[in-house]
């Protein structure tokens, strides 16, 4: 045989053997998953921007036109589906709304500051902040921030909208911060590539209720872990459960139980069971029958709460406080074992005290909030103060607590809030019915517009003082 033939056949044999080595089907041969905060899909969700007139009409209809102020900008609604990680570090997909100011006003073009906004508790699996026509929190944030020249990035959290995760990472501080940071990354990448209005380096963080907790956790994580990538300009967490372990202690031992507890507990128990694996060996350890059969996968849901109650998946209690006792959601053994439980340890892990913010912070809430007790806010203020960080904690019931915003603003806000409560009470006929109506509307409807107005003013004053 000639030497070229030997060469050719040896080459072929080597190549044949090499080819079998590459391209296996095991997990070890898989490509790495997309990076955190990578844009999977970015779209303009509105055919035409929402106009100033439409925004003003919307706020007027809700009686919050004066608080929101006249819209300065039209708002383009964008939506980003992005890759992030779940509590086990496995790839997960999530989505975020992105509201972009647009139009001819001075505040509506060029590079705009970004408000990274964390939304409050919802049980609705289809929740999407970008659907401003039916999402009250989305349209509020659009009116208060985007229409005033802020780009808003408002992630929907894992488990909601197009996210495939089969539960939501509720009140898991470190995890929520990861989802917020990745949503911000993806939104910035997308806007820088696709939008004439681009994000500036100014980052404001805000959030309400669960979102107040998420906002504070996000500021803490960014200042600790992402300082080379982002600088927090200011943060305004609102009505959040920052002192989570004390909140749990009060609810579980002495009471009172907060309004909405029968919704918050399954969300928390599932979130912590998925994250830490040690909250219960079986759902029936913590949930009474028949709720133990369904509570673990109850939320987020496409069913209404009325439907869930009808189906026997939640206690039939319109106050959503029936945690304990006969017909309650949770077992006596859960309550009895609470003090030493892994659940309490999880609450401690997710308590947002013991850290010191670097950027300016303004807290806000209402002293009579039946859903997230106000001591969460005052405890956080006291905790930061103990390490030399003074932050205002606005109580809408008290003009004195809002003097930091100026005497006129304090009086206007306190007076406006009192009027709003009075109007709610009167619309329900006053007396006990009126008081109950105020109670029912306090956390979700009455407080948010006032706290967001204060937050926005705070952001604007911090920005004005900076170059």
């Amino acid at each position: 045989m000639n030497s070229q033939f030997k060469l050719a056949s040896l080459t072929l044999a080597a190549a044949a053997m090499l080819s079998a080595c590459g391209g296996g089907s095991s997990a070890a041969s898989d490509d790495p998953p997309p990076a955190r905060g990578a844009v999977q899909l970015g779209v303009v969700a509105s055919t035409t921007p929402v106009t100033k007139a439409q925004i003003d009409a919307g706020t007027a209809a809700k009686g919050i036109g004066a608080l929101a102020g006249a819209a300065q900008c039209d708002v383009e609604i964008r939506y980003v589906y992005y890759s992030t990680r779940d509590p086990q570090g496995v790839i997960a997909m999530a989505s975020t709304a992105v509201f972009v100011p647009t139009g001819t006003g001075a505040a509506c073009s060029g590079n705009r500051p970004v408000v990274l906004y964390a939304h409050g508790t919802t049980t609705d699996q289809t929740f999407n902040m970008a659907q401003v026509d039916k999402n009250a929190e989305g349209s509020l944030v659009m009116a208060f921030y985007a229409a005033q020249g802020f780009i808003v990035v408002a992630p929907n959290y894992l488990g909601y909208d197009r996210s495939g995760l089969q539960y939501t990472t509720y009140l898991n501080a470190e995890q929520s911060a990861i989802e917020m940071v990745d949503g911000l990354r993806a939104a910035k990448t997308y806007l820088n590539a696709d939008s004439a209005v681009k994000p500036s380096a100014k980052l404001l963080i805000a959030g309400y209720s669960q979102g107040g907790h998420v906002a504070m956790a996000t500021q803490k994580a960014i200042e600790r872990d992402y300082a080379s990538e982002f600088t927090v300009t200011a943060a305004a967490p609102m009505s959040g459960p920052y002192n989570l372990v004390k909140f749990g202690d009060v609810i579980t031992t002495t009471g009172p139980i907060n309004a909405g507890a029968t919704l918050f507990l399954p969300l928390m128990l599932t979130s912590y069971q998925k994250a830490y694996g040690n909250i219960y060996a079986s759902p029936s350890d913590v949930y009474q029958s028949p709720y133990d059969k369904t509570a673990e996968t109850l939320f987020p849901t496409k069913s209404t709460l009325t439907q869930l109650i009808q189906d026997g998946k939640l206690p039939n209690d319109p106050t959503f406080t029936k945690l304990f006792g006969t017909g309650g959601l949770l077992t006596d053994s859960f309550r009895a074992g609470y003090a030493a439980s892994n659940y309490r340890k999880a609450l401690q892990t997710n308590t947002l005290l013991g850290w010191t913010p670097k950027a300016p912070v303004a807290l806000c809430g209402g002293a009579n909030d039946p859903t997230v007790f106000f001591f969460n806010t005052t405890d956080a203020q006291a905790d930061f103060a103990s390490r030399g960080k003074a932050v205002p904690a606005s109580n809408l019931e008290s003009a004195a607590s809002m003097q930091w915003a100026g005497a006129t603003t304090a009086a206007t806000i306190a007076g406006g809030f009192a009027q709003a409560k009075a109007a709610t009470s009167a619309a329900a006929g006053g007396g006990a019915a009126g008081a109950a109506a105020v109670q029912g509307a306090y956390h979700g409807t009455l407080v948010p517009p006032f706290c967001n107005a204060l937050a926005r003013g705070f952001f604007q004053s911090v920005l004005a003082a900076q170059p």
Binding site: Q4, S25, P32, P34, L41, A92, R162, G164, Q166, Y167
Partner: protein, 231 residues
């Protein structure tokens, strides 16, 4: 790596000189071993059926290429005719997101066994060394392993199982053989096979099983180079 292999082999082939010229006698058996590169140019409709609606052009998939070791057997049953069965070590193809999920990267992997039988017509010796041929035949593609990646699971919303229908289709190839000696030869081919499959994915969610499906037309071009031993 694939391009380098092809170049090395092509260079080796072109460096030939003084190979023996020989026609294959009737009744000759040939076994061969070599390299096969599968260039997939898949076409598939957007995934349908789930609860998550994606905007236009929809969530799509794209099948990646694969390279593997091919081997087979040929029997010369007439002066100009042979029958052939082409086999190989099952190649693995990465499946990637496409359309609106293009940035997702690899969402699945499939391993397939594509045995193919050919009837070949040999065009005699047009050169002193090289014997071209054409062949038509039938391909059966059996998808023996299918797996969704963590990224695929993240998009579909839970642990995902994939099924692919096996495929029967026509195949055709052109090629040439270089005879070095009575026993040893080198053969190169370019083949096309009609491979189509209905792909279904089943995702376990809290609300039961979600099914997505699409029809994939693989449209593979297969390039082979093999060392043959005849007896």
């Amino acid at each position: 790596m694939n391009k380098k292999i092809t170049l090395i082999l092509a260079a080796s082939l072109m460096a030939l000189a003084g190979a023996a010229s020989a026609e294959t006698a009737v009744g000759t058996h040939t076994v061969y071993l070599g390299l096969a590169h599968i260039d997939v140019n898949s076409k598939a409709a957007p995934l349908e059926g789930g609860t998550k609606q994606f905007p236009a052009p929809g969530a799509q998939i794209r099948v990646g290429d694969a390279t593997t070791t091919g081997f087979g057997y040929t029997y010369r049953f007439a002066p100009r005719w042979s029958g052939e069965i082409a086999l190989g070590i099952p190649p693995s193809h990465k499946i990637y997101g496409n359309g609106v999920i293009k940035n997702a990267g690899q969402i699945a992997v499939v391993r397939q066994m594509p045995p193919t039988v050919f009837i070949n017509y040999h065009l005699g010796e047009y050169f002193t060394k090289v014997e071209p041929f054409v062949g038509v035949g039938v391909n059966y593609t059996y998808f023996e392993k299918k797996r969704s990646t963590p990224t695929g699971d993240a998009i579909s919303g839970g642990p995902t199982r994939i099924t692919l229908e096996n495929s029967w289709g026509a195949a055709a190839h052109v090629g040439f053989t270089v005879h070095y000696t009575k026993q040893w030869s080198l053969t190169a081919t370019a083949a096309y096979a009609d491979v189509r499959s209905q792909m279904r994915s089943y995702t376990t969610t809290n609300n039961g099983t979600e099914e997505l499906h699409t029809k994939i037309n693989f449209r593979p071009m297969v390039y082979t180079m093999s060392l043959g031993y005849s007896f």
